[in-house]
Each structure stands twice: as C-alpha cells, then as structure tokens.
Symmetry: C2
Subunit: 236 residues, 2 copies
C-alpha cells in the first residue's frame, strides 16, 4: 500500500496535487503510473483512496475515488505529558510506540530534575508522522512544545488527571479509577522522578497519584506503560 | 546504589570475589573504598547487601552482610517467543523494555517470512543484563537460542499457549481467556506475519489465536503489548 500524509487535503474536492517532494517520491522512487492506487491520510480522521491521474515528477495530480471520514476513530482521548529524556532517542521510541498503540496528544514538560531542558519538536513530529503512516492511522497525534511543569499544570483542563511518581506514598492505579470513554491525562516525570513539591502542586491542582506497577521503570517505559493501560482499560 | 550482577554467587558463603573486570570497575571507576556498600543480584532471585572488604583493583573482596532470597518473586511466568526483527535494534529495545516490565523467558523463532534468519544471543543477553541491573531485578530473564518456529512448537510444554497474528479470522483476547498466576506463552511473528500454514500448525498444537487490539503493530511493539497485557492481567 502506498500511503501519503496529506494534512492539507480538502475532503470536498475530487482532485489533489502532491507536493514536489512527494511527487518525486511517488514517480521516481515508487515509479507509480497512471491508474495506480494510493492511500492518503489527512491526520484528522480522513482516509482517502486515490489514483494517479498525471504522474508529473514535480506536481503529481491525484483523482480522489473515495473518502472515509473518522477512520478508526478512537473511543477515548489520551494525553500524556512526559519529561523529555536526556537521551532523546528514548523519547523518540516512546513517540513511535505510543502512536502505534494509540495516543491523541503528547506534551513535553521540563521538570526540576530534568537533565534535558529543551527538545526540538520538528524532528519528534517527523517520528510521529512516520509511525502514523507505518501503522495506517488517519488521526495524527498532536505534539506540544516543551513548557515547564508548573506552566503545564496551570493550563491543564478537566480530564481525568494523573501523576505517576516513585515516592513511597499513597497511590491508586488506573485500573481502580479510570472511567473509560473519556479524556485522560497522565504526567510522567524525568529520570530522577518528580520532586515532592512538584507532586504536591499536582495533587493540589486535582491530579491523582498513581502507581504503574511494582517495577522500576525508565521514563519512556513508564510513559508507554501508562499508554498501554489507558488503551487497554478502554478496550475491556 | 552500586549494583553488580553476580550469577555465580553462593548464598551460603559470607565472602565473594568480584571478577577482574568488575573489580576494575568498582575500584578504578566507582572508586569504592573499604566499608562502601554494594548490592549484588544473582539472577535467581537473590538480592545481596555487601561491603568492600579488600579494594583490590583486580580481585576485590566483598563481605556479604545480608541476603534476601526470592526478591520480588513474580506471581506468574511469562514466556514470549518472538521472530527477531530485521533491524535487530528493535528486538534489543523489546528485550530491554520487557525486562523492565517483567518477563521470565524469551525465545527467538525463525519463521517462514522472517527476513532475519539468525541472531547473536550474546549481545542480546548483555542488553537484558543491563536492564536487569538498571531496574534492580533479582531474576534474570532466560534468553534461548534461535530455532525454527516448527522446532519451537514441537518442544513447547503445557502453558496457556497463544499465537498473535494479523490474519482476519476468529480470535480471542488475553483479557477474555488468560488465567492469572500461571505460565503463559505467546508467539509473535515476523514483520510479514505468520503464514496461514504456520497459524494452522500452531492451532493444531494447542495454541489459541489472539488479537492484541485493533492497531497494526510492529513485531517488537506487538511483543511488548503482549508482555504488558499478561503482566497487567496478573496485577488486577
């Protein structure tokens, strides 16, 4: 299946022009010809079946045959806020896997103990887009620019809100408290964990403290565990 | 915490000699001195508290202060058989994450559509050992040499046995069928999936076909999803 990510496509029109880069890929690399079928995803739920109408290597014209809106629309909304890891590859792995498994929004939070104070979201977004195409998702997860934890907490809306931390204190679990079919937000801290102050601030802003199991998990593993749990609890 | 993996340690003895490599690491790199505390894990459930008795850079002597056997013993046994990925880094990533989350045994299976026909388990075992130390697990997962899928199926014993595949046919899920507290075995196929013949052979040998959700998952992601589901179902 030849798949293109076309976020600017208009579902009402029957024709679409690939960008110069995508045209070159379609015609020079994939060697598509008139009549060949391709699939387009717009990142907002639209899955389009199209065919090559004019195989121009700089401006390929596609004819849209059909469109399916709300393709595999998720039955819940998952937002994970994660402290980007010192080794940014680990965060890239998380973004790829979370996109495969199912996620709607990712925020990057800089915490007191964060060793990484900033992250380039252009590259991280490319990782997500690749995973979207590879796993044929019509919805493209949203990735937000890095902000401090306190800025993020101040701006967080009324989802079911959780903070996963390693301090030895009273916690619940997602299996005990999550209500399926709704919006869920989980905070995942840096390699050295959230500070007691950061946890307190979150609790005072309505976040519930959760455990993600007995094991000691790396930041990106904890984030993926949270992603697994929320998706799983929305399936069973 | 300074942690050493010492699979050859005898829990009955009160003294232990580090290997030349570990001695060099303890004395030249970590710069430990007489009286400094270290933790040893034997991979079989033993967690030892020890201290430096003689800081020799080639033959460090430790005094064992206490030992905890069956440290964080798992309440179930999970065995995943996975087709090693063409890009071996992806399998390495799975081994690291599965070790963090919890796994007892991993087998490598070469399937008809496997692009990778062999895998060096020495390097893969090192990845597991690093993850064991990093996540402070006293039990070291067992990694088995690669065999063909049919060899593996012939030798599989009587766990709850599952095969996860993408062919559109009747399947169940782990949440519907898994009995917690027992031995579970899950087969994960290569990038091109198991062939219908391979699935039939597995079904005839008592494997149950399962779905790991609606998403299209890469091999290593599917393996981790299975790992996550089995651990989760043994927690709730």
């Amino acid at each position: 299946m030849h798949l293109f990510y076309t976020p600017d496509i208009d579902p009402k029109l029957s024709q679409y022009f690939l960008t110069e880069e995508e045209s070159k890929h379609a015609i020079r690399v994939l060697r598509l010809v008139v009549g060949d079928l391709v699939t387009l995803i717009d990142g907002k739920g639209g899955l389009y079946s199209a065919e090559i109408k004019d195989p121009h290597p700089k401006r390929t014209i596609l004819h849209i045959n059909s469109v399916e809106l709300n393709y595999q629309k998720r039955n819940h909304y998952l937002h994970i806020a994660i402290a980007p890891t010192k080794n940014i590859e680990r965060t890239e792995w998380f973004l790829e896997k979370a996109t495969e498994i199912g996620i709607d929004e990712i925020s990057l939070i800089i915490c007191q103990r964060s060793e990484r104070k900033e992250a380039k979201i252009d590259r991280l977004n490319k990782i997500i887009t690749s995973a979207v195409k590879q796993s044929i998702k019509a919805y493209h997860p949203v990735l937000n620019e890095a902000v401090t934890l306190s800025q993020f907490i101040k701006s967080s809306n009324d989802s079911q809100k959780y903070i996963a931390h390693c301090i030895n204190s009273e916690k619940t679990t997602l299996s005990q408290t999550l209500i399926p079919g709704r919006k869920t937000l989980v905070l995942i801290g840096p390699e050295g964990d959230f500070t007691p102050n950061e946890v307190d601030t979150a609790l005072q802003s309505g976040f519930n403290p959760i455990s993600l199991g007995e094991s000691r998990l790396r930041t990106e593993t904890a984030a993926l565990e949270a992603c697994f749990e929320v998706n799983f609890l929305n399936r069973i």
